[in-house]
Symmetry: C3
Subunit: 346 residues, 3 copies
């Protein structure tokens, strides 16, 4: 990628101050810039850096007034922060869309189809009767089992494994190492304490705009579907067990685990390393702090919980303070005992 100051200014409806032909090839923070880099200045705290930065172009607000000479070419815009975010998004889209075509050594099973602008990297294995929409990007070494469906504009990064029958919506992003549709963890013991596998013949549905982090796992349902609703974002190594359902726009941080058949509401936010037991209901807008352990239904919408076992935030804080007060209580009791003992003697 290579852009001139003029091209950037035109795209952002801004004006160039300096050499309109200055070229940038990448993006850096203003304090870490080097030749060929594009930076921005919005927060006044960072103003001193603009006089020292080695970045070739800096995007600044229209009302920025330089107090010393600046070597970088400036692009002046209405809102430097918003303009920079716009460029970042453009850059990410550019990177994503630059891949197209079916690479060497790709195997596509019979009855499978794909739409326009398809990219399949090397060593991709696509099973039978797979339906892939338009502008889908499948990176190298991905496995897509039989009967899967993938909607338009979805990106599947290198090495993702989709078991058979997985249904993926539009504009979904799945990161490397994620496994979607492996068997749920279901076993029935016999009289000798040996466990027999309960067949897991359901599937996984990821709706539109879902993003799945690296090495996360979403297991297929025993019967029916494990469902991750529209707009849900799962961080790395999140584990979603069989028959779980996660409501729209819920966001879950890394290494959290959700046990089988639990239903989670919309717009929830869970911190990292949270654990939730099976067959529970979590209401809409619930927030769980990192490392929270949930063993009961949480039915109050919008409540915040912490601790293991989980408590509402207020109770948790009080509990924490109380448990640190014991030493002091012990002293007070000892004093009372001493006082009464001495009094008794008299």
């Amino acid at each position: 990628m290579e852009f001139t100051a003029e091209q950037i200014a035109t795209y952002l409806s801004g004006t160039v101050e300096g050499n309109t032909n200055t070229i940038v090839t990448n993006i850096a923070r203003i304090e870490e810039g080097s030749t060929g880099m594009l930076s921005f200045l919005s927060n006044p705290k960072y103003t001193p850096y603009i006089y020292e930065t080695k970045s070739s172009i800096v995007i600044v607000n229209n009302d920025f007034v330089a107090e010393k000479p600046i070597t970088a070419t400036l692009v002046r815009v209405e809102d430097a922060y918003a303009s920079f975010a716009k460029l970042l998004t453009l850059y990410q889209q550019y990177l994503q869309n630059s891949k197209e075509g079916v690479s060497e050594y790709v195997v596509i099973g019979k009855g499978s189809t794909y739409g326009a602008h398809f990219f399949a990297g090397e060593f991709v294995s696509i099973g039978e009767n797979v339906k892939i929409g338009e502008n889908v990007k499948i990176y190298p070494q991905v496995y897509i089992g039989d009967n899967c469906q993938i909607g338009d504009n979805t990106v599947v990064y290198a090495g993702v494994k989709l078991y058979s029958d997985t249904q993926i919506g539009k504009s979904v992003i799945i990161h490397s190492g994620a496994v979607i549709g492996a068997d749920g963890f279901g076993f029935a013991p016999n009289s000798e304490n040996e466990y027999h596998k309960v067949p897991q013949i359901g599937n996984v549905i990821l709706e539109d705009y879902v993003e799945i982090g690296a090495n996360a796992t979403v297991d297929r349902a025993t019967i029916g579907s494990t469902i991750v609703r529209r707009g849900v974002k799962l961080d790395n190594m999140v584990h979603v067990a069989h028959n779980v359902e996660i409501g729209e726009n819920t966001v879950i941080a890394a290494q959290t685990g959700i046990s089988g058949s639990t239903k989670i509401g919309r717009n929830c936010m869970f911190g990292g390393q949270v654990g939730i037991a099976g067959h529970l209901h979590i209401a809409d807008n619930v927030k769980l702090g990192a490392q929270t352990g949930v063993g009961v239904n949480l039915r109050k919408e919008g409540e915040i919980y912490l601790g293991s076992p989980s408590k509402p935030l207020k109770d948790y804080k009080r509990w924490l303070i109380e448990t640190h007060r014991i030493e002091q209580l012990t002293k007070r009791i000892a004093e009372l005992e001493k006082f009464l003992k001495e009094k008794d003697k008299k």
Copy 2:
């Protein structure tokens, strides 16, 4: 897969009520059924659904009496639940055994052999001197290092990595993303606080009937073997460190980690996100609740533990209750102090 009501009734020693030629191609819960689906009714709680279901065939108990018209074809059997489970298992076996042959782009190293009904998906890499039994199914993009052994009827799903020298028994199932035999985490510091790698030259043994979840890891031993005994079931993202041994038929839920050289008994059950320190012994039949943290030997067979640090269930429950009693105790002490102070004044 396509079956008629008659074929199903014959297989289950049941009788058809309705059109014997009704065809089903998949399985669904009675409340979620649609045309072409097979469902069952066993729990009376679900009886109302049989009058509404769109499933084409429903398996019911012989003694089921319809109180309204039913559109689905019925298959009557002695025990609807057991019959359905039997069909599920058949279906899973059918899916599993339908794959056979060596796909395109498979590389098999010299000295390696495999038995009858072998399946190897695309882009499978098999090293040298690998011995693979009969009816083994290796899905795409699996890596099998030199000198590995794999017993009869074992299934290895897409993208599993088996480091060299791994020994896998019969009827084992390993899910996508699992890594078996990576180096144990062993380092020795020098005088400059740099860590030098302790070579990990042992291996991993998974005995018969083991199932390993997606993205789980079992590390090779420093010397000797890390051993997962017959019938053990590990859920997704379980971590088993070097030189660990897990006893027969122990079941471990997702995201649990077991540190180096720890020995775990038979028939144990561990919840999710449990952590166990290194060089410990856990007795047979021990149960650990989710998020339990174990730092000491647990030598009492059949005991249940919870909490971090772990406590026996009874102690844990009491501890929890006690820590919630502090606020009340503080009030009682304050009252005593006030009482005595006032008394003292008189």
Copy 3:
């Protein structure tokens, strides 16, 4: 690999006692030895095993005095433990360096280069403009995105995924299933509670002598770099979020998660399943016990912390003891109350 007792003695500057032509092909603990195995005896606790071992060769200290007949051939050296460690390292290096050349079905993009003694296993996908040093070993099914750099003597095991722009130093080891450079978890909500992706256009830098465990993840920075400094060792399933920096020679056990933008000092040691919140500073030489949850800056060098929320070791231990004292305190208060009540009556 096959060595005679004489070859081993020569390499270790030791002397053979027994048949100088005794052959070994592998290494075992003295208590688990069998024909063809090499073992060592250093710890006197294991002396009884030398009279029973089936290992063909045993390395012993020069001052070892046999009290009974021994069937194994002995190799006497100055320090049996150090000699054995030296052999293990040699063996590991031998295994590692025995792979060389570009295997079948490897795709290398334009502008990419590699040095002498390069090994690339089957189905390796290397993007454009990738720079690979000398003696680098890339196992099967690895993905290396565009513009990555890999230093001399680095080993990348089967199935590792390196997103574009990742920079890896010399003598680094990355285990199977690790994902380096996936997008950081960054989203901005809009007024409808939908989350829009914040582009992640930075990269990951792993410096020299880093080792990354199986299925670990290190996310790319939003802008700039996520940096893992020289000599850091990460165990399996460790999660490192965007813009984190981990100081030299810090060692982190399995399933630990570090949230975005946190800076960790040098020579720290973290146990397993530790969680650290975002935007924090952890001082040099800090130790965190397993399952510790850190939500605040830890600025005191060399301090040990435990618990969730984390406390200094001394405080944690006292807190634990105090919380177990409540039952006893309750009894003492009840006695005081009873005593005063009875006294009052009089």
